[in-house]
Symmetry: C2
Subunit: 709 residues, 2 copies
């Protein structure tokens, strides 16, 4: 049960061949702070130095005009190394000496990102599976954010697109699937203005998650290398996404190269042959090798250290006896996790790209590693840091509030207020307080001790690990025995679920409640979700309603002091120990019962909301408004914790009064943190695009995870 | 009471003069993607266009060699405008045509950031308080991240420093205090490679929170403007930190200028005078003005919209009747919030920089708007997006775990395990489950229904708004009446607090518990915190202990079925409705009582931990190890929600077993989110620097907030 819940089986098998991750299979990727800063010069020098020990493969994935591999061959391959010690290739080539996105359009030779990256990956699989030590040097084209090739197949929301529809992305986005296993050498700009150019391109690489191992600059009169060393030696060190500080040894990691002859006609053989230049490149190669080996040691110990120091949720640690039971995720890109697994040789690691099924079931809305999302989130941190929220406004919080209750938000048509918390459990705890207090007010009841206020919910629900939401579920694996304070605070109804039985989509009724003579099979999910059509014959709805009425009556009458004061529904998707698909018609019937009794309805849409079901809220399927709705998981595009509890104005007004103690005294320091709010605005816009896309394509509502571009 | 709690009085009065924020007082700041991309050219054109309507003030804060204000005067000021329509000034000047950080060192003419920004602010106060419409154009020097001037007074952890100790920061960091009220015109790079340079510098501005309103490029053969328009028109639009999408009108906001004469000897009068150039600059000025007015309208409505749509925590909304009761925070920088308040004229807004007291009491550890923190956080998003955590490792989570239990972490010496949650309440709920279950196991008790497991805590505590932690406090304003499920689950002891009475630091004992003949006044806080010295005479400790023993006995005996199964302590600082300073000797005595009864001790250090008291954990003051410690607020440098519950191996082992249901089934989707973990690593390193700094300066432990550089 637990293993289902925690999604141990969350990885599909790999959809590409494994890349070996080994000390003698180092791959560097060379980026430039600009065009014409000496990328090929550095690549050739690096190839030459690496050839001291290893065979070397040089790759130029995208080449527009010229031929860098010839330059590299000419300057790198020296006697006495045999000529087959060096292999070099250009993967895609255009004649026009301009940016690849232009050249591919002008020459009508498109190359999609997918195609380019498949070719790059093929090279990596081949080189890392060669016997013997091999160094691979990948040289990018232009600056870090220079465009990739364009293609009519580059059509995702992250592609910049011309009127003719040929899209491109910046190269640092293109190569992002490689990150982690390809340490970056950034060739900085040694000229006047070069400090800014170098630092900015470094930042662009960092926000995309790259390991930038070394920074190399060609010397000019400006001594930019000293400024860079001063910068990376600050107290607040630059830190990469994997948590490591960068450039801890500035003398090795930030390096200058002697100036090249100012006359471009002078050949560079002499420069490469000089002791100073040779010494620098060899030092650079040694440093890169050392860093790579250190990084591998760290990666190899990560699962073991994790097992020693981490306490995972939903994990019986006594069952995690071996490192290979732990998933080592080194990076993620779009829908994939890059997982390192033990290699077939029993020594090395191997890198596997796997579909992120756990994310798809929860947090993966906009794809991993989207630079626009990382940038938006960082922008909010840069602008606000964090601002304490009570009685304060900042633009992202207000805009997010407006969006959530606005025409395209989940609260459209019913919600007026947004209450922020940090996570789904806390947002649901707030919802329970709001719902129960509102019922008490509606019924003009006193909160006297003789009445026990309870809720009515669905069986097999999970709303989080805090006590209030534990109490809002029936006794189960997840609470019984977990907490001495756990008490089942309500009536929890068994639910009719939908699933395929013998290939037919049909309703399974809870045991003992078989409903006779009702339609229980469906042609498609769309038919199940078409509540309007299903309400034409109201029979099943009435049966459901009667059944619920009866259970409710029995419950309240068998324990006279208990009073149901809120109904909690997880619309359509119920998420405990996997997902189950609850008949929305039954939920509609439950809402009818609640309404007839003036009991507020809470939608826990932390899993199902925000386009997970192809609609922003289950309201659009059930065609019933809740009083309170709770949204989380996908809210920030999955990257940060944030939760929004939406309510009607009536619920809000329950907490108004003369008395300060009547106010909602629920919150914590990071309430409505700016990064979360800005990320959420970005993600909600992406989901909007998605639903527009579905509408245009006349695709019926589906799970978001199958839709990610 | 509420107003104290929510920190309505959290703002000190302004420490600088107000800047008016008005439609006819627009200030633009011109940044360049590089040196020599045409910043001064664009500034002059913009000044010229703005002079159509307004008087204009041009400012070059830092000038090294040359004289840009002469160029601007020459090309911008045309008949028939009177010559006093344009004023122009250079604030700080060096002769050497190089980067300011070099020029200031070479010429031995330092200028500190503080000094430069005071001068810039003075200009803004003067120009925005002029009568009549005025446009101010601030032109930066070099590229966005080109260094500022250096000075021996630039010594913070964000300063890059030479061996001689003269520090500098990138210019985009220098001007960050202005953000929000100074829309940026970014002059891009129209040359080959310029797409990358332009995009990277744009990203550097965005992660620092700037509003980048317009992008201007000088035309060359490469048509970079088309690429930029394609890029900003992507589905995943660029989004600024304030949540707004950028460049929604690419035809106006991304603009090219006709190429300038290739011969640098040809004067530019003709170019500026041409219809095409004039038209572009006038369009740019119109667009900037329009955007500025739109932005002001948004800002002016923000408090009202916020009041309509937001539901603030800890706020009795019926008492918030007017917009001016709401703080409008437009940005934050270092220790200051930039707050917009109603101007004295009753129409405009004014911008006030205020010390962030609410942050200082909670989340402000590393200062607002630190670019290294924004970058680290974004890097983690770029690299991992989010990775589901159960049975998974990623580098930042493991590294953070190691750091927290490592030699400089709060768990040093006692904690072995780290359990992550999203916020302090959830982390404390986990701690309570852990503590109580461990006690039950220690005592080999059964969890039978006849025993009610309770806790012992301090009066006047607050651990969050979820039910479990509400139950772990005595009935009060914050729970009684808030939740029908609230039950007081324990013994809550009145605490002796410390404060100044008639100028003397002394202990206030709870009513009815005056302890006779004990030392109750102290020379300094250091004396209060020096537990070793205070333990030499054990008298007060013994008195405390006896008192606690007695209360404990009375409690357990008066209700035979209640059993105290955990003790919860907020070391030294207790934070409800403001902070109170609890006598640590009393807390030490409480721990002694707990230990004698085998009851686990939980430190709620969510407020007091992580250097807030000059030590990582109250353990270093109390000289007692807890079994469980909870850390949040400052953990991520304050920017993101994250909480770490640290435990001993014994506590962890309580949850081991054959049975999956024995595991800790507590958690939510964003557990150990990578951004939070990487930010925390960054912040903890900063706190390390801080404590080193204090040690070197022989400063005694103090509140972190007084220490921020």
């Amino acid at each position: 049960m637990l293993s289902r819940f925690i999604g141990l089986r969350r990885f599909f098998s790999s959809h590409s061949k494994n890349v070996r991750v080994a000390a003698d299979k180092r791959t560097d990727i060379v980026f430039g702070a600009n065009t014409d800063v000496g990328k090929t010069l550095v690549s050739a020098g690096l190839v030459r130095a690496a050839l001291r020990r290893n065979t070397v493969h040089y790759v130029k994935p995208l080449q527009c005009g010229g031929n860098d591999q010839e330059f590299v061959r000419r300057h790198a391959l020296l006697q006495p190394r045999p000529s087959n010690a060096l292999s070099a290739e250009i993967l895609f080539q255009w004649d026009t000496p301009t940016s690849p996105h232009i050249a591919s359009r002008m020459e009508n030779k498109p190359q999609s990102d997918k195609h380019v990256m498949e070719a790059v990956n093929k090279v990596l699989v081949e080189t890392t599976n060669r016997s013997g030590p091999v160094t691979t040097i990948i040289e990018t084209a232009g600056g870090v954010l220079s465009p990739s090739a364009s293609s009519p197949n580059n059509t995702s929301a992250r592609h910049a697109t011309s009127e003719t529809g040929w899209g491109w992305i910046p190269q640092a986005d293109l190569y992002q699937p490689l990150l982690g296993q390809t340490p970056v050498v950034l060739v900085g700009d040694g000229r006047l203005g070069g400090i800014s150019a170098t630092l900015s391109s470094l930042e662009s690489l960092l926000i995309r998650g790259y390991d930038v191992t070394a920074l190399v600059l060609l010397e000019t009169d400006y001594d930019n290398v000293s400024a860079m060393r001063e910068y990376v030696s600050r107290g607040h060190k630059l830190r990469a996404g994997n948590g490591e500080t960068l450039f801890s040894n500035p003398n090795d990691s930030v390096m200058s190269l002697p100036a090249i002859p100012s006359d471009p006609q002078v050949p560079l053989d002499e420069w490469y042959g000089s002791d100073a230049v040779k010494e620098r490149f060899e030092r650079l190669d040694d440093f890169l090798q050392q860093s790579w080996e250190g990084q591998l040691l760290d990666l190899q110990s990560l699962r073991c250290t994790g097992r020693q120091v981490l306490w995972w949720p939903f994990t019986q640690h006594s069952q995690v006896q071996r490192d290979n039971q732990v998933a080592l995720v080194d990076s993620a890109s779009q829908n994939d996790l890059n997982v390192l697994v033990d290699g077939t040789d029993g020594i090395c690691l191997e890198r596997v790209s796997m579909k992120d099924m756990s994310g798809s079931e929860g947090t993966l809305g906009i794809g991993h590693g989207d630079s626009s999302l990382a940038l938006a989130s960082a922008g909010a941190t840069g602008r606000y840091g964090h601002v304490a929220f009570p009685q304060t406004v900042h633009a992202p919080a207000v805009a997010l509030g407006q969006t959530l209750v606005g025409p395209r938000g989940p609260g459209q048509g019913w919600a007026k207020r947004v209450f922020f918390t940090e996570d789904a459990a806390s947002g649901m705890e707030a919802a329970l307080k709001m719902g129960m207090k509102t019922y008490i007010k509606r019924m003009r009841e006193e909160e006297n001790e003789s009445i026990e206020w309870v809720i009515c919910g669905q069986e097999n629900s999970y709303h989080g690990g805090t006590l209030g939401v534990m109490n809002a579920t029936e006794p189960s694996f997840f609470n019984d025995g977990q907490h001495p304070w756990y008490e089942c605070k309500g009536l929890f109804l068994s639910v009719p679920t939908l699933g395929f039985r013998n290939g037919v989509l049909s309703i399974s009724f809870p045991e003992g409640s078989e409903l006779e003579g009702t339609q229980t099979t469906f042609e498609s999910i769309d038919h199940v979700l078409d509540i309007d059509a299903r309400m034409i014959s109201r029979k099943l709805h009435s049966q459901y309603r009667e059944l619920i009425e009866m259970q409710w009556l029995v419950y309240e009458h068998s324990s006279v002091n208990k009073k149901i004061s809120s109904v909690v529904i997880e619309p359509v998707l119920s998420a405990v120990a996997g997902m189950s698909f609850v008949d929305p018609l039954w939920q509609k019937a439950l809402i009818a019962v609640a309404e007839s009794r003036n009991v507020p309805v809470i939608f826990d849409e932390t899993t199902s909301g925000l386009q997970r079901l192809g609609v922003m809220s289950g309201r659009d399927i059930l065609r019933e408004d809740p009083d309170i709705g709770v949204y989380s998981k996908l809210l920030t595009g999955g990257i940060l914790p944030l939760c929004a509890t939406l309510t009607t104005e009536e619920i809000f007004e329950t907490f108004l009064g003369e008395d300060e103690a009547m106010a909602m005294l629920h919150g914590s320091s990071h309430c409505a943190h700016a990064s979360g709010c800005t990320s959420a605005l970005h993600a909600l816009h992406a989901y909007d695009l998605l639903s527009e896309h579905s509408r245009k394509a006349k695709v019926s509502p589906r799970m978001l995870s199958t839709h990610i571009w």
